[in-house]
Every structure is written in C-alpha cells, then in structure tokens.
Subunit: 675 residues, 2 copies
C-alpha cells in the first residue's frame, strides 16, 4: 500500500465568522430582537444589568465550564465548591448582595454549576420558620459562611409524603434538649444537597415527641460536622449517595442520627414552640411547614426548568439551519433541516412553550409575592390556592419542558446525543425537576383535590378563588369556528380549553360522586378516579397558561412586530395543544372532526410562518456562547469545526489506553499476523 | 451538647431474605411463571441453555459489572475491551461458536457492555456485500482477530441520508488502486463504534469515482492502524469523539483520510465491480447497500430495545410493591405504591408493551429470514416491503420503549434517578436507538411512502404485499361496541385500529393528491403532508402490532392461565393505545365519546386485574440480579439496604475531597468561628 507522507491535521484551526446559513436567518427578522429581549428581561435596563453581570462572571476563569463535559463526579464537586466560595468573594468585591437584582443573574450565568444552593434553602427555611431570635442568631452566621447549611427533609423511605417521615426528635425535659434519632434504615435522610461532603449544619425534619405523644413533623437545626476540622459530630453518620443521572457537582448526601442531642432553642419556632415544661404551643397553620417547599418550588421554575428549555431551543434551532440533509427538491442543494415540516413540528411548539411558560412564571411570581406578604402578617387564607396553583404548575411546566428538551435533543440526531452538544446534560438535569420538590403526579392530584372542592363549591353557588371562577360557568355549547382562520382567534381557542377543563373536572367529580353513592368507600373511589383527576388538573393548568399568554400578548405594545410574532407563538402554543390532545376536545363533540382538520391546517400553517423568525426568536433569549456551552448552538453556527475541536480535547484522546498493551496487542499478535 | 459514644454503623450489614411485601406478590400468581418464561424463550430447552450460558458468564469475575456506575469513560473502555477479548477465549473454551445459539445468550448476559460489536458488523457487511473471494480472505482474519474491524458510514455532516456522503474513492487505473479522501470537515467519518481507539480496519462508505464520473456510494475495506504497533496508517487521522450520553465503553470515533490508497480488490464487490480497465459492472439492485443497515436494524431491536424495557419494568414493578408511601385509607398502614391507580397506569401499559414487542419481534425475524434467503438467491423483490416494514417497526418500537423506560424511571421517584437503580443507564442507552441505524422520523416517512404507494395500488385494484392488503378494504362503518365488555373483544379493537390506520393513510393520500392537483409541486406537497404521514405510518405499525399480539394469544395453549393473562395484556396494550390516542379514533366518529368512556372504563379495570399478576409477569422475564444490576430491582426486594451499601462504595466516599483543605477550611475559618 503506497501512502502519502502528509498526515498532519490542517483542519478545524480557529473558528472564523458566522456560518452563512445561520447569518442569512438573521437578515429577515420580522421584529427587533433587542426589543424582544428587553420584554423578556422586564425592561432594557434589566438587560443591561444582566449582561454586565454575565460579563463579570464569564470573564473570570474560575467560573469557566469549559471542561465540564470531561470531568468526574469528584472533579465536578471540587469545581462547584471552588465556584461557590469564589462567587461569594466576587459578589462582595462587586458590592452585590444576595438579595439584590444582580444575584439572580449571577446564578443564571453560573448555570447552576455551583455548590451551596442548599445553604440558601437552609437560610430561607430559617427566615420563614424561625423566630426573630433564631433569625438573629443563625442568619448572620450563615451569611458569613461560618457554617454551611443543608436542608434534610427527604428520607430513604419517604419523599413527598412528609407525614410519613420517620426521623424522631424526642424532647428530654430534664436536659431541655431534643434527642434526634434515625430509628430504621428507611428513616435515613437521603438526597439533601450539600450534605454528603460539605455541610456543617442542616435543618432536619423529624417527628416531634413530647412525653411520648407525637406532634407531627417539625424542623430542627442540627450540627453534623465540626466547623474546626470538619469531622462528623458524635452520633452522626453521613456521606455521599453516589452517582446520579446529573448533579455530579452536588454532594447529595445521606445522614443517620444516633441519639444526637440539640438544645431546645434549635427547633424552628416561629409557628410552634415547645416550652421548657414540655407544653406545646401552635401559632398558626401546620401547613406553614409546606411553605418553604412551595417557595422553593416556585423559585426553581425559571432557572431550572424554563431557561433550560430556552437553551435547548436555541441550540436545536440554530443547528437546524446549519445542518443540511437530503433534498426537498430533486436537483437542488440539500435542504436546511428546519425547512422540513416534521422538524418544524418538533421544535417550534417547544419554542412557543418556552415563551408561554416564561409569561405564566411571571404571573405565578406575582401571586406568590402577594401570598408571602399575607403570611408574614399571619394570614394563611391564600395558602391553599397558592399551594394548589404552584403544585399544578410545577408539575405541568416540568413535564412539558422535560419532554420538550428530549424532543430538542433527538431533533439534533447523533450530534445531539454527544455531551458536547450541551443537550444531554440539560436533559438529565431537567428530568430531575419532575421528581424533586414534589413528585408530579402527587402534585397534580393536590391540584385536582382543590379543583374538585372548588367545583363543588361553585356548583353550590358558593364563592371560589379568582383562578377557578370559570368552573361556575358550565355550559354545553359547541365551538363556533367555521374555517381554519377562526382558530386563530384567541376567544375561540381559549373557550375550547376552558370547555375541556370544565368537562374533565365535572365528569370526574360526577364519577367520584357516583362511586361513593354506589357504596364505594371515599378513599377507594378517589383512587379509582386518579388517572382522570390528573388529566383534569393538567387541562386546568393548560387552560390558565393559554389564557395568560393571550392576556400577555394583548398587553404588549405593537412595536417592531413584537406583538405580531408573539400572537403567532400564542396561537401555535394553543393549537399545538389541541392538535396533540385532540381526544379531549373531540370527546363530547365540542370540536368536530371537520373543525379538528381546521385546527390541523392552521397549526401547520403557523409552523411555516414562525419558521421564518425561528432564529431571531431564539437569539432574543440572549444566551452567551459560554452560557450555552454547546458545540452545536453557538452564535456563529460553526458546528462541525467546534465538535471536532472539542472532541480532540476529550480525556479519551489524551491517554494512550492501557487496553492496547494489556489486551489488544496480545490479541492481534496471537498468531503470526498476515497483515 | 452531650453526645453518645457509639457512632459506628451497624445498619445494612448483609442482605437477608426476600422482602415480605415482594414475597407475598409471588404467592398469588394466576399462572405458572417458569412456563411463561419458556414461552418467551421459545421452549424450556432454550431457557435451560440461556441459564447455563448466563451462569458461565456471570460466575466469571472478568465480566462483573459491579463497578460500572462508578467508572470513567477511560475505565469503561478498558473494561469493555478486556471483556471482548476474554469472551472470545471463554467461548472457545466452552466450544460455543459465534453463530451458535449460545452466542445470543452470551451477549444478553454481557448486557452490551463489551467492545468489538462493530467488529461483528464489519464481518456481517463483508459476508453480505463481499464476493466469495473477499469472504474467503477477510472473514477468517476477522474471526481469528488478526484485525479489528469497524464500519464507517456516518459522517460529521451526513447520517441517514447515505447519498449525501462526501468521502470519495477515486479509481486510479494506473496503479489499480482506489484513492480515498475526506474532502471537507463535514466529510469526516464520525460515530463509528470501535474506531476511535481500537480498530485496525474498517469498511468505509465512499462515493466511487471512475474517470471523473460518480457512481454513488460503495463500501471499501480500509486499514487504518498498524496491526503490529497500532499506530495510525499514513494519511489517516483518527480518534475518539468524546463523551456521550451513554456508550462510554465504546470508542466511537472520527476518521479523516488523506490520499489513502487501497487495492482494487478492497471494494466489496458481490453486487458491483470495477474492472481493471475502469469498467463498472452492477450485479443487482443498488439498494443492497441498505441491506446491512436493515439487517443491523432488525438484529438490535431485541437486545437493545425490548430487553431494556423488560428490565425497566422488572425494576420499577418490584420496587413499586416494596415502596410504601402515603395512605390509601386513613388509619391503615402506608400503601404499596403499585396499589395507586396512577402508578398502575404508568407501569402496566409498559409491561404490556414489552410483551407486545417481544411477539412482534419474533414475527419480524421470520419475515427477515425469508427475505434474506431470497436475496442470497439474488431475488430482490421482497426488499422494499422488508425495508418499509423494518424501518417503521424500528421507529415505533424504539420510540415506544424509550418513552416507556422514561416512565419507569420517573415512576421510581428520586431513587430511579440514582445511577444505582440501573434505570438512568438503561434510559440513556435506549434513547440512542431512536437515532442510530436511521433517524426515526425519516424511517417512518419511508414506511409512509411505501404505504401511500400500496394504498394507491390497492385502490386501483392492483395486488399489494400481504402486510398491507387491509388497505384495499376501506369501509366507513362505526364501532359496534355497546358496553365496556365489548372492548375486551379483539375483533372490536383490532378493527378500530385498522379503521384508524386506513383513515389516516387515505386522508393523507387525498391531501397529497389535492395539493398536487392545486398546482403545488410534488416534493413540496409531500413536505406539507409529512406530519400527517408520520402519524399514518405509526398507526399502521400500531395496528399490525395489536393484530400480531391477538394472533399470538390465540396460538398460546391455555395452560396454567398463560393464555388468560396474555389475553389481558393484549387487551391492555390495545386499550391503552386507544385511550392515549383518543383523537385518532374519535375524529370521524368511528368511536363515539360514549364508547370512549367504555374504553376508559375497561382500560382502568384491566389495570386492577393485571396489578395482581404484575410481579409474576416481570419475574417471567427471568433476569438475574447481575443482569439487572439495580439496587431497586433485585429479586429479594431489599431496596433500601442495597442502595445504602452500594452508595458507600462510590468514589465520592472513598476520597477525602481536596475541596475541604483548599476551599472549605479557609471559608469556615475566615473569622473567629463562634461554633
């Protein structure tokens, strides 16, 4: 075999300008991209602040995520701790406070790749559940990092069902202490972040016993490691729970307590207290214990769920105009894959959903802030609605975004499957959001319970909270649409969603009633309806999201085409939902088969319309390349060169594998080779 | 703080007997488990053989997967190579041939965690595409591992669209060689397994040029590394493509060729040849190049797609009877989570699907074997049907099983998210099956093209292949079911599926026709119909799968309740599909809303019935604990103890993190600590 003598690599040297296929997409935007960015950020001033913060973070090499896809769990943990310590220093230097507006952007720029997030939950739970005295003692210590906190609620045997927690805290009147114990293996705390290797303290949720009587689950501050030498405190067994699908940088931990004594003052006692003589005093709803969870649940939706979907859309859509594959028309050059209807149908509904969820999230935050102010004033009235609302939305948004992210990943084919695309780690991380802070099915059933109650109340003419007044307006009727354009009317589709939600809630309420009247016990009847109750809760959340999107679009000023393109996205989000859940709308004939064909036609038309603005619509999310950390999704679209350059840096190319000397060589030389 | 002096860990020491909650599930099986296992294996003799092979593999420590979840990509690769070399030795020792029945079970027992699988594809492609002379030369070399082969088809810029491959092979008449080149960065071979670090040879697919004329894509055998010292051959640049979502044990590689010359004899030439004077001779359909892909596509469905779903069902269902959470009835003990209707609705349809796909896979193999014999006799008539059939089924089964596996993972909550559950790696691996060996959407569109052709032919009274004769029987009609029990009649639901498939195919054919008649160009009209064409192809595949399940159940002897429970699973599979895709059946009123309520009622009833046999139904899959490699899914159900024991072995608990000395200590000691 004659071979040439030049084997050096001359390719992939330096990434040049923007890929022309991507550049051309930006010339035809129907709206002003920076203006839309400002709408998303909540004003141009905010955009400037966010970018300034991103600049500071991204220009500091300590925060680099360049090697993220190549690191082991141990390396990821070390990097996350290093970043957590450094970010504190950085914020002090910059004069940014933890509560300030910059803080949000700092964590956005870090992309969650940092330790001590549970330290913040530790502080938040003390702020919410602690007395003024406790807040005065612990918050400064925590703020100054004289301790590292965690939040130990979940146990090996119990997650969302808090009442079932098995850890015990027995009040010892003689020493004025609580004695904490892990009575069984399933009672071991399991999963708390920052606890496996870092935390010195943690809030432990345990069943409170006084004089042998159980008072239910309460929060206690427990020291688990020495602040001097970090050794485990006596009676404490703790460690890391090992490898997970993602979150390698977090030391999710286990914790066993054996007769660990803490002073009486360490029970968080804003809402209930054990007095020195063992008298138990309650100062408010026990439901307040759920409040930290509700608050965490709401706070994570933006950073952990919606932003990842926005990133995935950015990566997949940019890639889909750079990637050319096969021919749409014989004789022409290969087509951009985003010009295939099937690719549009995968990606554009996810893009519309990202916008829809961004807007509903704003609404949820307003609602939460109002509720929080009320609770501070010891008014717990809004807690049930807030809990039902946040539960359902957390479930819907996490489920939808997780599916959406998987679709984006798969839509990028083999390259999406490479860690270097950024999509696998976004996916494996967002998947966890369906599980943590309340398993989605259980959350949806909590929403459903609220809806059934409100439906019953509304049917009896009693007042119900504002978000569910529509349940009083049960009317049969038919969808009045006459042609496909009618389905671009928000009234038409919003009513269809409302009708479907009412139908599912009322028919499930009726089934439940029938079962109970036929002699089935209430709890068993409930169980037999749960599949349908989940459907009903989803339909309710979907309806509220569509309605909120419509209202948001109405409020947007019609500048530079923004209202126009948002209207298209809103239509797409709504019609995609009808198209994908056709059975719900066809079931009672509210929408007929012929009308469903109109929905389909309008839906497919919208894909073609939004296709034209797809790249500007993801550009408006305004992610930096460093934030995306994707070989496929960068602003310049130099996809293949970047994949190749990044791959060459992989540890698999740095090491001559011992496998050759040990196994391959003896194998290949097992006979006198003929080759 | 007074603390006790006993801190040693006395828990989790040794796993004892079967968890009683799991044991009780096995006492009430309505059928004989070993008999069902034999049905799945294809006879009790087969079961014995499989178990004997599993014993041999699992008792050899080289094949242990104990540390799998803790290893880096480099470690996984080394282990996989070691296993590949060792398995060859083992099989020789045992007298098992690569073509023998034991071989299938060897690879099942190894769970794919082994290198050189592409070596087998290399051999297969030579066997199928090579002349007798080429087979005689290369197969013995490959069998004796005097070379390590790979299969280099996919490029950085091209996957499923083979015609677009850019690698060139120019015939040099003067030297009687082909000169292979990678003309652009996107032409780089990218993804081939075993190529990044191991292979010495590979089959390269390249555009053949003779005298400046392109003859399309052809396969060439190219040496890429020395068999003596494993150095890259001159003109060859190759390496590993870096981290992926899974397949860390495989060295998926990249390959660039610069004027690499190979002798004329290295083009695989059973079906076409370049003669010494440059004359090009074709001896059969060019489609034969797709045949290796079709063959690989079919061969992987069982091991890479159906078995993983069966494993996931085993893990999730066993866990769901051990896990107790919350109360079904106040005052009672906490309920097994499988007793919640929502949990049943997640898992049991996946179980039914695993059985459905096992049976359709048997059918597909029969069809393939018949086609293969015909092709060996140079009869290519059955190729289009086989291609359409295998494409659609690959897409449907991979999509369905991937979703099913994700559902199983999420149904296990936080513990499912731990790598130690085994579910994340099953999921991240099966996800790849939606992409490799043909992207699913493209495959479904190939099936759709075949269906539209056959529909047109059938409408014109022309003969069509057996699997699509039903397309000739278009009749409007309505579903005759009168109550929920009618929906347990296979005739009723099979006809509903058939009706839905015909409706979707015929309505899309009509839309296509309308568009073309209205002046839209044919290719553009096709693109505008693709979302619906994909739906139609899925409906066809779903129908055939239901029909095959029904026929399989009919053939099962009614011993020890097996036919009975299989009938329930078949009903569940069918009704789950109608329930989940209600819109398709409601659209033209074939099934009314009232009938859909009957479907729902029967479907939910079936969940309760199959619930009773859920554990025996997964026990029948007969996976060993080592094969499952799951802390949640073992036969004894000692879930919590195993999670804890495995977690303690994690590298994160072996190492005192440098993070403490470097970052935590300075942080905590930044002021005079008050703690």
């Amino acid at each position: 075999m004659v071979l040439p003598d030049t084997t050096e690599d001359t390719q992939g040297s330096g990434l040049a300008s923007v890929n022309p296929d991507l550049a051309s997409e930006r010339l035809t935007a129907s709206f002003c991209v920076p203006r839309l960015t400002a709408v998303l950020d909540g004003g141009a001033e905010r955009t400037r602040l966010r970018r300034a913060v991103e600049d500071v973070i991204e220009s500091d090499p300590v925060f680099s995520r360049e090697n993220q896809y190549f690191q082991s769990q141990n390396e990821r943990y070390e990097a996350a701790v290093r970043k957590a310590v450094h970010v504190r220093k950085k914020m002090q230097e910059m004069g940014w406070s933890e509560d300030g507006p910059e803080s949000v952007y700092v964590y956005r720029a870090l992309s969650g790749d940092v330790a001590f997030l549970l330290h913040r939950v530790f502080m938040r739970s003390i702020s919410v559940l602690g007395s003024d005295k406790q807040v005065a003692k612990w918050i400064p210590l925590a703020s100054e990092y004289q301790l590292i906190g965690s939040y130990a609620q979940t146990e090996l045997g119990h997650g969302t069902y808090l009442q079932g927690l098995e850890t015990t805290a027995v009040f010892d009147i003689s020493t004025q202490e609580f004695i904490l114990n892990t009575p069984t293996i399933s009672a071991m705390k399991w999963w708390p972040g920052d606890m496996g290797r870092s935390a010195t303290h943690t809030v432990v949720f345990a069943q409170l016993y006084i004089h042998g009587k159980c008072y239910g689950v309460h929060p206690f501050i427990v020291q688990i490691r020495s602040c001097q030498d970090h050794s485990l405190c006596p009676g404490v067994i703790a460690g890391d729970i090992g490898p997970k699908m993602n979150f390698e940088h977090i030391d999710n931990g286990y914790l066993m307590l054996k007769n660990v004594r803490i002073p009486r003052e360490n029970m968080l006692n804003k809402f209930c207290e054990v007095q020195p003589d063992g008298t138990y005093i309650r100062r408010g709803s026990q439901k307040i214990n759920y409040f930290t969870m509700t608050s965490v649940r709401i706070s994570l939706i933006s950073d952990e769920v919606i932003l990842p979907l926005m990133k995935a859309c950015t990566i997949a859509i940019r890639y889909s105009v750079v990637r050319r594959q096969s021919k749409l028309k014989p004789g022409e050059e290969e087509a951009k894959i985003l010009d295939y209807q099937t690719q549009q149908e995968k990606l554009l509904p996810q893009l519309a959903a990202a916008y829809a969820f961004h807007f509903i999230n704003n609404y949820l935050h307003e609602l939460f802030n109002r509720g929080y102010r009320e609770i501070q004033g010891r008014n717990f009235d809004s807690l049930p609605e807030l809990h039902a609302f946040s539960s359902g939305f957390k479930a819907m948004v996490t489920q939808y975004c997780t599916s959406g992210l998987e679709i984006c990943l798969r839509a990028c084919g083999g390259h999406g499957y490479s860690l270097l695309s950024g999509l696998p780690s976004l996916y494996t991380k967002i998947l966890a959001s369906c599980i943590y802070e309340g398993e989605n099915t259980i959350l949806l059933l909590q929403t459903a319970r609220f809806l059934i109650k409100c439906f019953t109340a509304a049917s009896a003419g009693q007042p119900v909270p504002p978000s569910v007044t529509y349940l009083a307006a049960v009317k049969p009727g038919k969808c009045p649409a006459k042609d496909k354009l009618d389905f671009l009317s928000p009234d038409i589709y919003t009513e269809a969603y409302q009708h479907a939600a009412i139908r599912l809630i009322s028919s499930t309420a009726a089934k439940l009633q029938d079962l109970i009247q036929s002699g089935v016990e209430r709890h068993e009847a409930w169980n037999q309806c749960t599949v349908q109750l989940v459907q009903a809760a989803k339909a309710h959340c979907h309806y509220i999201t569509v309605k909120n999107f419509v209202e948001t679009v109405e409020k947007l000023e019609n500048t530079a085409g923004i209202q126009n393109i948002m209207k298209h996205l809103c239509d797409l989000f709504a019609l995609h939902g009808i198209f994908s859940n056709a059975g719900i709308f066809l079931h009672d004939g509210y929408i007929t088969g012929a009308q469903m064909d109109m929905v389909t036609a309008s839906y497919l038309d919208l894909l073609g319309i939004i296709r034209k603005d797809a790249v500007p619509l993801v550009d408006a999310f305004d992610f930096t390349d460093k934030n995306l950390n994707s070989a496929l999704g960068s602003y310049d679209g130099q996809v293949y060169q970047r994949l190749y350059e990044w791959a060459r840096k992989a540890p698999t190319n740095k090491q001559i594998s011992p496998a050759y000397e040990k196994y391959l060589k003896p194998l290949l030389h097992n006979k006198l080779s003929k080759l």
